[in-house]
Symmetry: C2
């Protein structure tokens, strides 16, 4: 061993001991004939001291050490006079009597500190230096801790970790596959798995009873938002279970992980119905760290001449609003900003109606012309509006109103710090619809995937009112982020057939797309269900990262590039020849 | 929950309890008005009893259940009259009063038992049924246990599990890469990693200190022997370590795994030098479950007129043999078989010389014409030959003689059961050469990879006698199988430069092949080293499998095909168009 201790472990208990440390030079200060070096490794920082009077040569050597030099230093642990309470090792320092330079370093291209001067592109290019920053280093360590806690919990519950293959069959389903040309079977391709969905269901058919895997998945998508072409799932499946068993098992898992990693006691996860989530929060992934619910007004509004409301009601639209508590004093400019916010193309509202309940007790609104103060106060009552509150109301199609008000409540919460940052909102969203209707073609399609089991109570609606059929599908939502999705799967061939019929899938298409799964189901498939957690996102949330790139050791850019390795790259013609492919000119 | 218990847990302690079990019908017997069903799940088998007299309808229903039907059965636990001591649940049976068929099954295409009538191709096609066989099921469960033990040990030693990317840069180095066409950067390709070698070294530069990962690796090779295009490594790296630290850490790991999974106490792993392994056992991965060493005779042989020996000595070859203890009574036919064995093309000997020390005390040999009995007895003494022993001697080039005798000792051990099947031979092979010489071109090439550190004592030989330079490279060998390989890496740029020069790599080639690693090394690389375990092979050895396919849930054939999913396959033209590639006509 090059060292007796790490840079994170020495305390007053070690005073007087001769120790050897290794690490990187974080800082180097010359102060009144003494040289002080902050020596850094993964475990912490320890102060080294070189004394000009005791050993001038050694001190001179220490003065020449640049930032990020790798050194080995031996000496005696002494109590510090000026203790540093912010450092676990801040009570001691090492009086060095032996110094070895293990490796030199060029001046790094950015500061190796949490507050760095390097932009993200530069840091991605030198990711091995970026990881030296405590923030990123600690995020990776926490990621490993989270995985460990996940495994502890699942192992303890008799789940078996099973690896599924990464070179699988391409199915023209879901997102776009990454393809891998086969050299031995020319003209044929493997696909990288978008998820082990079918394979884990086969493991249930195989009788493995409880399966999990922390596994890379691949989607060749255009990288909208915070996505990576390869990402990691905690993938799980269980046999002989109902939905309630899933809620208990995986609700328990997330509570265990929070307890173990953050020492945070989550309560039992509440369940919110999909319909209700949309109605109250405008989204199927609501952030419940603050209240602020959407109030629907269609039934409550007094009759008026206000055309916007009347047209909305006549065309079957929705009039609804939220209470921006304490925002009655918003300026014209602030209100305009919110109006622009809901008019953004992906929200698409025409505008916002507002009603102010001012501190002085008056009511002012943008619809004063159409409603009496009494009527406005009645509307206010539906929102429990108090003096100082501002109501923001929208009228349009259901989807637009809900989406806009849902986004608006988040935006207001952010602006006004309504969210208790120490609090966690973790819940189940349940009772998703089984089918969706394509807005353009009107065609019925599956909302999740075609193996999701319908709710047994809803089978009677299957033929006449398919959109009314609930699926046994569920999401877990943390602070407004969907971090788990799953379902009870269909194990009954008759019900599977009914679903395929509804989706308009012919026997041939069924066979082509899902042949080997349907074939397996002929040999005794148990009732089963499961879910997949998005690991990167969970780690990001739990470590306070801003993007999932903050919790992945070597991530890709939004263009799918690895800037450090410089990938992807052109390859040699010989390699393509061996695979029997050519580049299209 | 569909069940109160699994099929593996009920004992006499449960007698009288009302229970509900779920599982697959393993067997169905009608016996004197009673129907007995063996119900199987992942955890075991429990006997269900249906009584014609108590409930004729239920009994008739039970009689109709076919093999592999999935059922749910409720009833009372009773003590069995005819106990089955081979079954953990053999003391009890369930008198069923409620039966639900959860799913039917077609007749499976082969017997779902350890001794099955299905050939491997058929079983690979129906892998989800094959996994129901206890042998395969238990191998997968043991695999998970091994991974768990590995993680426990490494987590406890402060290793951090870090995921490295699977879409990386293709480098024309080592084996052939699997390529993945990039859609966003047309004409460019990612490669699937052959191993995370460079990435884990970068994690050491990044200061992560101790890394591990249980990770899929990919090699597009022609599938000689027992290989898979995707396989799993336990990949590890540590900073600030010498070879001895590696031996202690990873020797400790394998001992922990054996203890935890097999309850087997391995001793401290012995170390065998590469040279010595070749000299004594003819291979760098010797199986030491039995002794039988190769004895070299060049210095010991008396002068004779035997041309084969004299020519071998004159041409710098090797004369050596092994003692086939107790085989003096081998027939002509048996000796011929052994001669054919060593004459096989990949061994390439011309023949075998034998000396029998018969039970009656006489000595007979194929070289009686050239040596006196006294001389033969002297040769025998070098082998400690006793009455009843047979010496087998070869004379040829060193490599051929060693390879042949090494194989021969294994063959004899197999034929005569010399290996104690309950014993494990686990050892380090150390002091591998740094360079190899290409037999045809005479060019110097690296034996392992170009980042292996030379042995510090051997630097003086670098220029004049490079083949004499030992590397800080090591293998771990279990029962004659290499299951780990690793090295201390070069962290000193000057030594790296020396190695590249010796390999004849120009600056341009260095930059092209290893540019981003060499660049990283400029910013303070710590001394580091590591290793990778072949997980599939370890699991195979520890579960007594015959091929690694026996311990992989969904393996591929030797032709790289997945017979269950039918992969690889042709893909749609649209998919290729999107990637900007075409098939070569």
């Amino acid at each position: 061993m090059y060292r007796t201790h790490t840079c994170g472990e020495l305390t007053l208990a070690h005073v007087g001991q001769q120790v050897t440390l290794c690490g990187w030079v974080q800082r180097n200060r010359l102060l009144g004939g003494m040289t002080f070096i902050d020596l850094r490794d993964r475990y912490g920082i320890t102060q080294l001291v070189f004394d000009m009077e005791r050993n001038a040569t050694l001190c001179a050597e220490a003065n020449r050490l640049g930032r990020e030099y790798v050194i080995q230093a031996s000496g005696v642990v002494k109590e510090r006079i000026n203790k540093n309470p912010n450092l676990p090792t801040g009570d001691i320092e090492i009086f060095v009597d032996e110094l070895t330079i293990l490796n030199a370093s060029e001046v790094p291209p950015f500061l190796i500190e949490n507050e760095t001067d390097g932009n993200e592109e530069l840091r991605l290019r030198y990711r091995y230096l970026d990881i030296r920053r405590p923030k990123l280093r600690d995020a990776l360590i926490t990621r490993a801790k989270i995985c460990r806690a996940v495994r502890e919990y699942l192992d303890d519950k008799n789940f078996v970790e099973i690896e599924t293959p990464n070179l699988i069959k391409s199915t023209p389903e879901g997102a776009r596959d990454f393809l891998v040309p086969s050299r031995l079977v020319k003209g044929s391709f493997y696909a990288l798995p978008q998820s082990p969905q079918i394979l884990k269901q086969l493991l249930m058919v195989a009788g493995m009873d409880r399966y999990y895997q922390i596994v890379k998945c691949y989607r060749d998508e255009d990288f909208r938002g915070d996505r990576q072409p390869e990402f990691t799932q905690v993938d799980c499946e269980m046999s002989f279970v109902h939905q309630e068993d899933i809620f208990e098992t995986f609700g328990g898992l997330i509570r265990y992980v929070f307890k173990k990693v953050l020492q945070y006691e989550l309560p039992e996860l509440p369940k919110l119905k999909y319909d209700e989530a949309l109605r109250l929060y405008g989204t199927d992934k609501p952030d419940l760290r603050f209240d602020c619910r959407i109030v629907e007004l269609n039934e409550l509004l007094p009759a008026s001449d206000f055309a916007v409301f009347n047209n909305t009601l006549n065309s079957g639209g929705l009039i609804a609003g939220i209470n921006a508590t304490g925002c009655a004093s918003y300026s014209r400019k602030q209100l305009d900003e919110l109006t622009e916010f809901v008019k953004a193309p992906h929200r698409g509202l025409g505008g916002l109606i507002h009603i102010r309940f001012t501190e002085d007790g008056s009511v002012k609104s943008s619809i004063d012309k159409f409603f009496t103060e009494e009527q406005l106060r009645q509307i206010g009552a539906a929102f429990q509006a108090q003096k100082g509150d501002l109501l923001l109301i929208a009228a349009d199609k259901h989807t637009k109103v809900r989406k806009s008000l849902g986004d608006l409540r988040l935006e207001l919460a952010k602006r006004h710090g309504w969210m208790d940052e120490k609090k966690w909102s973790v819940l189940w969203v349940v009772d998703f619809p089984l089918f969706e209707q394509d807005e353009e073609t009107g065609q019925i399609t599956f909302a999740h995937h075609p193996f999701c089991s319908p709710h047994p109570d809803d089978l009677p609606y299957f033929d006449k009112e398919p959109l009314r059929v609930r699926a046994q599908t569920y999401d877990m939502v943390i602070n407004g982020n969907e971090i788990l999705s799953g379902s009870i799967r269909i194990h009954d061939p008759a019900i599977q057939e009914k679903v395929f019929q509804k989706l308009g899938l012919s026997k041939e298409e069924q066979e082509k797309k899902f042949g080997f799964l349907l074939n397996a189901f002929k040999y005794g498939a148990p009732p089963h269900g499961g879910c997949a957690f998005g690991l990167d996102r969970i780690v990001m949330l739990m470590t306070g990262g801003e993007t999932i790139r903050d919790v992945i050791a070597f991530p890709k850019t939004s263009g799918g590039r690895d800037l450090m390795m410089d990938a992807p790259t052109p390859v040699e013609k010989k390699q393509l020849d061996e695979l029997g492919i050519t580049l299209k000119q």
